[in-house]
Symmetry: C2
Subunit: 326 residues, 2 copies
């Protein structure tokens, strides 16, 4: 029997990535093109359909070799209804039936998945979570995203809004989060809030080498904080240590909630590296939780980088076919 092949498309506010992935998780082709989101949905949907053709062509295949298409899209969206509802980084998109429009243009069965879920499914299916059946992913970027796989299935929740792990509250009554809640994980541990906490401390007059950096830039980045911490700056060390602390709390909480075998950390912030980020989180989580427990999840970095989105979208198409959904 021929190897089954899927196209995955990762729709972002800046770029659209796509590729052909087979059931053995081999990437047969991949491309990235600018989204040009400012022109609204119609031309972007046209670009996406063209990208499907191009990656099939690049892989030396034809459409009849492809079993299905998966799309990862920013929220808010509905997997069940196949629509994009109103994503903040795709202006002018409102209640767009993206699944059916791509299906009509390509003539292929199509599924639509939340981009964070698609990336988590990518790592589970083809990356750092491969071989497990229970995985949790935290994506550490501008925000903190999440993904949960339990017993080999993607957890979407009743409202298609599960695994919003950046908005679990880890400090009741704490820092205001952009989402309107207080004390969210994201309001402490995302790249942007890590940088913001450092900026606030410098502006409050704490002594730090970051004061010089801030004098030359409008604002600090989380890379600035990591670099200063690596060079021994006390304030930067404290700020980044707090980030690791709150991420460790979140790991312990998911250990007790969905009890995964593996917790995967993804996103731009993992560039901080094992010594600065992974080891401290592992140590803090181990100190914080049950000492005699034999249910500690492994905590590790994601392995697919920016490709997790389109690989996971292809994997979502595989999943939807397995489950007879499309």
């Amino acid at each position: 029997m021929a190897t089954r092949r899927f196209v995955g498309i990762d729709l972002g506010g800046t770029n659209i990535k796509g590729g052909v992935v087979d059931e053995d998780r081999c990437v047969l082709s991949h491309l990235s093109i600018p989204t040009e989101a400012e022109h609204g949905p119609d031309p972007v949907i046209e670009l996406m359909a063209e990208l499907v053709d191009r990656v099939i062509d690049q892989a030396g295949l034809s459409k009849t070799d492809i079993e299905a298409v998966g799309i990862g899209s920013p929220g808010s969206m509905s997997h069940t209804r196949g629509i994009i509802i109103k994503p903040p980084n795709l202006p002018g998109w409102e209640n767009v039936p993206l699944r059916d429009r791509i299906k009509d243009k390509t003539g292929l069965p199509t599924t639509l998945e939340n981009d964070a879920n698609a990336a988590a499914w990518g790592e589970f299916w083809a990356g750092a979570g491969r071989g497990t059946r229970h995985m949790v992913m935290f994506t550490l970027g501008t925000g903190v995203g999440g993904g949960i796989i339990t017993d080999g299935r993607l957890l979407r929740g009743h409202f298609d809004n599960g695994a919003e792990l950046g908005h679990t509250i880890i400090q009741p009554g704490g820092r205001p989060c952009g989402c309107g809640q207080k004390g969210c994980l994201e309001a402490y541990a995302s790249a942007s809030y890590t940088a913001r906490r450092a900026t606030e401390a410098v502006q409050a007059g704490e002594s730090s080498s970051l004061a010089d950096v801030l004098a030359q830039q409008d604002e600090l980045t989380s890379e600035d904080v990591v670099n200063a911490a690596v060079q021994g700056d006390a304030l930067a060390t404290r700020i980044f240590d707090e980030t690791c602390h709150y991420l460790a709390v979140a790991c312990v909480n998911m250990q007790h909630a969905t009890n995964p075998e593996r917790i995967v950390l993804a996103g731009g912030m993992i560039a901080a590296g094992e010594d600065a980020l992974l080891k401290p989180i592992r140590e803090k989580a181990a100190e914080m939780t049950w000492q005699a427990a034999d249910d500690l999840p492994e905590i590790m970095f994601a392995s697919l980088g920016n490709d997790a989105g389109f690989i996971g979208a292809a994997g979502a198409a595989w999943l939807a076919r397995e489950e007879g959904e499309i």
Copy 2:
């Protein structure tokens, strides 16, 4: 086709409850007998097998009318292996293959489930969660237990240790919990820790009508706190309000984690009633979370009371047959 019938057994440290439940969720018989746990596993297993016979007989049925047996047992235990590992409230039980011993004695297919999961499954299958596919349960008793159903399936986790929601950390670095962690939900919001927080406040010299109660008893109960709060005592009101606050945090966190349609509160503490417990939790959760969200779960009380355990154990037997596990 005949209605399918199941026996559920809820093994507790004090009592063993059992009954026959059919696939329509009707309870056809039920009995409760003392566990006499002090005699060790063998006589208790004998009692459990006799209880199976007795509830079948009480329902006017014979063994051939029963499709399977489900057992809810205290942890630590393993559903997968069917064994009781070492539960604190069953002294002398260690690595007992309870599932197979009951199966051998009754001649019926048997499944073993964690008691908290069985109770949650009971409410989902036959009680307050019926009709949903995504539910979370908090059981508020001496401790805080948990149960998660996602997409119609019981979430057990990789280590069979999922939904230990009482030990999610809601106040990092906070009160020491009996489990060894700090800042667990249980260390604030269980019946016993609610009473303990009140006791500590009285002993620290805060003025309260609870001082008189404490003078006559060794320790306060959560009922004492609720009663004093209902009568307008300021300290008791504050302590119970904090309990509701932390439970609301836990509800918001599970809203974002597994995104249930319904959150069910069970256990002895729900005797506090709607006005003292349910309404404040609902209000606090609504204030605390996304204002424009349309993914707020309903929060409600459990409906099966102490019968949730054996009904859920029977439901677990139904589930294990549905999934072809036994």
